[in-house]
């Protein structure tokens, strides 16, 4: 009986831990301020940095971060960057900061962050860390009064597909994967230590209005909208180019199939003639014939990413238009008074 109760060490080591899915990312106020400071200082160039924290159950806590130096020239050695990282981590370890990398953050311009590099960076991180997240911050949108911070993760099904680098139509239909499934957005929670919260409450009495409100109620909305639309139109051009590639592929495919059919017919007729003449029939396939060479199917990854981008722009436009509507009606009401 004792044997039943006590599982051998080997058994326990063999059972794999089921990782609970990541449900929420908890960010420290300190991290938010650091990210904002770094991204804003280097606007308009895009910057990145590393996130440090802890992985607790279904929540990923981000407790600290440090920025990466910007690489101006390409001859900046990889070792330098790695050295910087190691040095920072070592120093932070000495002052008891959580030393685990849980992801990275990057700034973006008008929400145009869905690129292949992002996916590649994700895959790189994913090999070493079980759970990592990418935080995207948009300093432009934040100057409108919205804290444009979001946490992204690649969905698991997409990662499997990417590993085998197989983006043909059948595979995608099999897994029922569409462009919405590439990135998963994870809700973000903000937490502050009690000490900091006490300080902030003391130091800044509840002012009735703050700079944030001033930003939100500014009426001049056109520049932002214009830029958004510009980007949207560019993306549509890219998308139409991708579509043309597909059309080309399909046309080639159908032409090749027509050729195959024609050749097959000819072969069959030939075989019938030979049978009549009493000779052996020739095989119905001929792999050496170039019409049987399979046409490579273009990867759909790019079109997915572009689609994602477009959808992002549309979302931004929506949100922004909502704000503008409210502001316009407000102006109307004030004017009447």
């Amino acid at each position: 009986m004792a044997n039943n109760m006590v599982r051998s060490f080997r058994d326990i080591a063999a059972t794999q831990e089921v990782a609970s899915p990541l449900r929420v990312v908890q960010i420290d106020g300190l991290v938010i301020l650091k990210i904002i400071k770094h991204c804003k200082e280097f606007m308009p160039s895009l910057v990145t940095g590393q996130l440090l924290g802890l992985d607790v159950g279904s929540c990923l806590e981000v407790t600290n971060c440090f920025p990466f130096p910007s690489r101006e020239e390409d001859e900046e050695i990889e070792a330098d960057g790695a050295n910087y990282q190691l040095e920072m981590m070592r120093c932070l370890r000495e002052v008891n900061v959580d030393n685990n990398t849980v992801g990275w953050y990057q700034s973006t311009y008008m929400g145009s962050f869905q690129t292949v590099e992002l996916i590649e960076t994700f895959m790189n991180y994913q090999e070493n860390i079980k759970r990592c997240v990418c935080i995207i911050y948009d300093p432009q949108r934040s100057s409108q009064g919205v804290l444009a911070l979001k946490a992204l993760k690649l969905s698991d099904s997409f990662m499997d597909l990417y590993r085998y680098n197989n983006f043909s139509g059948e595979k995608l239909r099999e897994k029922n994967l569409s462009w919405v499934d590439i990135f998963e957005e994870i809700p973000v929670k903000v937490s502050n230590s009690a000490l900091v919260s006490a300080f902030m409450t003391e130091l800044e009495a509840d002012a009735p209005v703050s700079q944030c409100d001033y930003d939100r109620l500014v009426l001049s909305t056109n520049p932002f909208m214009e830029r958004n639309l510009e980007f949207l139109v560019e993306c549509m051009d890219d998308l139409s180019m991708e579509q043309q590639k597909f059309q080309f592929y399909y046309r080639n495919l159908s032409r090749q199939q027509a050729q195959q059919q024609a050749w097959l017919q000819k072969r069959r007729a030939e075989n019938k003639a030979r049978k009549d003449a009493g000779e052996d029939p020739l095989p119905e396939e001929d792999p050496s014939n170039p019409i049987f060479k399979p046409v490579p199917e273009p990867s759909r990854l790019d079109s997915f990413l572009i689609t994602n981008q477009i959808s992002n722009y549309c979302n931004q436009i929506n949100g922004f238009a909502g704000q503008s509507f409210s502001r316009i009606y407000l102006m109307d009401a004030i004017h009447d008074n």
Binding site: K37, E94, G145, V188, F199, M200, L232, N318, Q323
Partner: protein, 284 residues
Amino acid sequence: MASGNTILQFSPSSTNLSAKIHPIVLFNICDSFLRRQDQAERVIGTLLGSISADGTVDIRNSYCVPHNESSDQVAVDIEYHHSMLVSHQRVNPKEVIVGWYSTGSGVSGGSALIHEFYSREVANPVHLTVDTGFSSGEASIKAYVGVNLSVGDRQLAAQFQEVPLDLRMLEAERVGFDILKKTTVDKLPNDLEGVEASMERLIVLIDEVYKYVDDVVEGRIPTDNSIGKYLADTVASIPRMSPAAFDKLFNDSLQDLLLVLYLGSLTRTQLGLAEKLNTAAQIL
């Protein structure tokens, strides 16, 4: 100087020296205080920032430096301090050392030694104390500058003189105090909620102003000309337009927005369709 009277010379504090602190520094300090070693009573660290021409010190960043303090000895990990400085300057070369901070109220003997160390790094270091123990019952953040007391030609002691500190936290305001004040915030507000909150606050403000004006008119509160003038200016700053012109402007903007919104929805529908067509095509 031949007379027997000792003359105490207080050199005047550097004129116009004042310090401005960014909220991230405060957050950093609190965080490092929370993570300190158990036996340490306080933490010290370096302040980074810039010094402007008129003497204002802008404190923009900070990092904690491990140190050991006993009743008569102070040991600071200088190598750590330098390597962190190098790392920080790789990201932001414009930030230089402007001083140092310590938690805990008041200034102790050890602080003088540390201050001397820092004055070897920068000309006039600013010493920031952050009272994390709330010993005086309220949050106190003070900045000091070291001033040398000399008698005649002899150095007597160094005095820490307090310097005005500007705690205006502009970036924190941008982020929204609601996020930074509470211990947990469940959801970041999105566009519409933000505008809603701002408008509510605006309404509250307008109500207050109404009430104030009513009170003054009825004589409940003594009149204050400056406030009255300010209000008159504010109301006059609404541009005057004829109703027709305003209506046209209003309708135009509204229609532009609606058009853009419609295009956005159209694009999304198009995307959905394209998606279906792309993957649904069967290859025979």
